[in-house]
């Protein structure tokens, strides 16, 4: 079946039952999509599907037919990523890094919907992404800074 992956159309020939997470990592070698739990609880596997944040471990390929999927690898070439990663860097929000690709994509989805979110809205937007290192403050700050600095991008 056909879907669009990081801007390119791909013709997937495997099982429709395969987990999107596994296919992205193993077949397309997009290892920036992390596996933390395989039960939709941690958000490490987050990707953007048709403009929405989803857990790729919760998606069988059949569900993704015709969809547009963006992983951290595809997103990291964008201007918005540059603003976000600079913001994350400025507050050292990246500790072990495992939650971060998911957090970055969650950040994008927050700002895409709401370019000037309140702190509560930011916290709600990342509430499905677990982090064990930071206590979340630095990540929330990073998103707030990106919103301030990303003038017009979102």
């Amino acid at each position: 079946m056909i879907f669009t992956l990081n801007g390119k159309e791909v013709d997937y020939k495997g099982s429709l039952n395969a987990r999107l997470l596994d296919v992205l990592r193993d077949e397309y070698r997009l290892t920036g999509v992390k596996c933390g739990c395989k039960e939709g609880e941690c958000g490490s596997c987050s990707v953007i599907m048709d403009g929405l944040l989803i857990n790729s471990c919760m998606v069988a390929l059949g569900r993704a037919e015709g969809s547009t999927i963006v992983t951290i690898e595809g997103y990291s070439g964008m201007k918005r990523f540059a603003v976000l990663e600079k913001a994350y860097a400025s507050v050292s929000a990246v500790q072990c890094g495992f939650c971060i690709p998911g957090m970055i994509l969650a950040s994008e989805c927050i700002l895409a919907k709401n370019p000037h979110p309140t702190e509560d809205e930011i916290r709600l937007g990342i509430s499905g992404n677990l982090c064990r290192c930071t206590g979340y403050n630095s990540i929330v700050n990073a998103i707030r800074i990106a919103a301030e600095e990303g003038d017009g991008l979102w």
Binding site: R25, D26, R29, L30, T31, G32, V33, K34, C35, G36, C37, K38, E39, E41, C42, S44, T71, I72, E73, S76, F81, E85, Y88, A89, S90, V91, S92, A93, V94, Q95, C96, G97, F98, C99, I100, P101, I104, E119, D120, I122, R123, L124, I126, S127, G128, N129, L130, C131, R132, C133, T134, G135, Y136, N137, S138, I139, V140
Partner: protein, 706 residues
Amino acid sequence: MDTISKSVIKIDHTPKVSGTAMYVADYSTEGVLFGKLLYSTKARARLVDVKVPVLPDGYLVVDKNDVPGENQVHIVLDDTPVFACETVEYIGEPILMVVGPDEKQVLAITNSIEVIYEDLPAVLNMRDSDVVFFNYEYGKGDIEKAFADSDNIYEEEFRTGRQEQVYLETQGMIAEPHDGRMTVHGSMQCPYYIHRAVAKALGYEPGRVQIIQDVTGGAFGGKEAFPSILAAQTAVAAHKAGKPVRVVFDRQEDMEFTSKRHPSLCHYKVAVKDGKVTAMDIDVIYDAGAYTTLSAVVLQRGIICSSGVYNIENLKVHGRAVKTNTVPSGAFRGFGGPQTFFAVEMMMEHVAGRLGIDSLTFKEKHIAREGDSTSTSGMYHFPVPLPDMINEVDKTCDFRRKYKEYSKPQTGRYRRGIGISLYFHGAGFTGSGERDYIKAVAKIHKTSDGIVHVLTANTDMGQGLLTTFTKIVAKELDLPFDRIIIENPDTDLVPDSGPTVASRSLMIVGELLRRASAELRAIWKDGEDQIIEEHFQEPDFLIPFTIENFHGDAYPTYAWAVAAVELEIDTLTGLANVLGTYGSFDVGTPIDMNIVVGQMEGGLMQGVGYASMEQIAADSKGRIRNNNLSDYIIPTSMDVTNLVALIHVEKYPQGPYGAKGAGELSVVGVPAAYIEAMEMAIGTRINHIPFSAEDTMKVLQEVQRK
């Protein structure tokens, strides 16, 4: 603020944020065999038979018979087997590994293996155990006289539960045999621990083993010792297969079968005279699980901390680590300290309550000062800044006023409480461990092109060590970062600077790097290849300490903390809403402010979880029931939205630029602050963590009935 504290962009920021950082599971699996462990389903049994089906070509089973060296994993002692022998001692003990080219097929084979057990009686509760792995006693003063002379004696028992580290990246190792050597890389804290374990299991000379740390997605102590077991198993499998073998845990097996924080039972008997605590008689039991692993050292730290930040002149401390047929307990941030700090802080608070004094005022009467004797008759050689830190926290969260207000009887639907906790973390390895056991060596190697290579065995697991080590070397040599190279350690390339544990890396190894850099600066010759090696030297001021007599300076210095938690409960549901979590932390000079604050905030959050929502429940057979992230609950971004970490600086002259151990401190004392707040809100004394909404509701209903 010291110039070194000024935050920089972390040197591993870019690969991690862009998703290009390679964690062990990210490496290509081409030509690599998958390994899956088969675990015991019994808490204790004799292994009668293991029925392996006929295996397809390319698939093999690896067990105790395939261990070329010794079937022992060296972790302090050697009782942990690589693969189970005659008996299994806990649910989750690895019996064998199935290895093969297709992951699904490997899993199917593993599930089809039938194990015949002969049940043996199992001990699941530490109260029922009569196997004492470790037993320590120490004391000072005249405890009998103090109790005889006392006005009042108070006794109470405190319990703490298991806590799972929940590093976001699960355990994983890849072992690759090549050219008569074995290279193992993976997620780890201590490459040289693994090096020793793998060499022992394979029966190899040390030079034939190479251990490389991959980018590690969190550890918190959970990857201090456990990886040695997994690495030994994976290496043995790769040795037998003659091909690379990869084992990456799924979340369920990681949660069920890897090491967790020791559950504890702490019994305190306290003598009070003239409104002050004059003596403490403390009995501590830690649940070591089925094998000894790190329990000796965890227990040591726990009992050293057991009289808290207080100057208690008459002390008797007895500690035991006992065996139960459960997953062996291991290291978790705080390493035995959180358990006894919970107990001592709650004890002090309860005694204060019985004496009719507010807990903070009572505690303040006993705080140790510079020059006072420590619990083990060492000395606090440096200032104890707790009084100032208490004031900082008070100012930040209006503690004293709220304490008074919330102490009044509350009858509404929503009830509030606020609690405070005073604690320390002894920085560095306990006692003479650094000098006698670790003997750290750090190296810097300037190549002729003027690039400085930083060579230590210490690992960055998120706490920013690659960056802070770089900053130290850069500052001392006055070089820009792009002239300094530091990589995740490879035992072929780095000396053994000791494990990344005990909050020692910055304080001990960072200082070695600083000295090495200072030396290099003095003798720098352009165009020349120069290597400086620096060996650990025990500070002069230390009063010698050994485990045999438990007397002297257990730690060279202490990192100090004050934590406060304010919460509000809903009496209709028992749910607690944490209104604020605050901490003031003295870890000496922060080598990077954002990094240190980030560590403090993370630890505060883990402490709230430990006190409340993080519960491990086992069934009557000992099987852990909540083995996934929907059932083992850690805080999300919406759970503690008001989290404040303050930094207080008391420089430690022997640490680099005045830095002290920082990694563990923040989590250690948070639960007592949470529980004190909860007690105030629901109007009862509490003596255990975790304390859940259910526990709250039970208390409220009992109070209602009265």
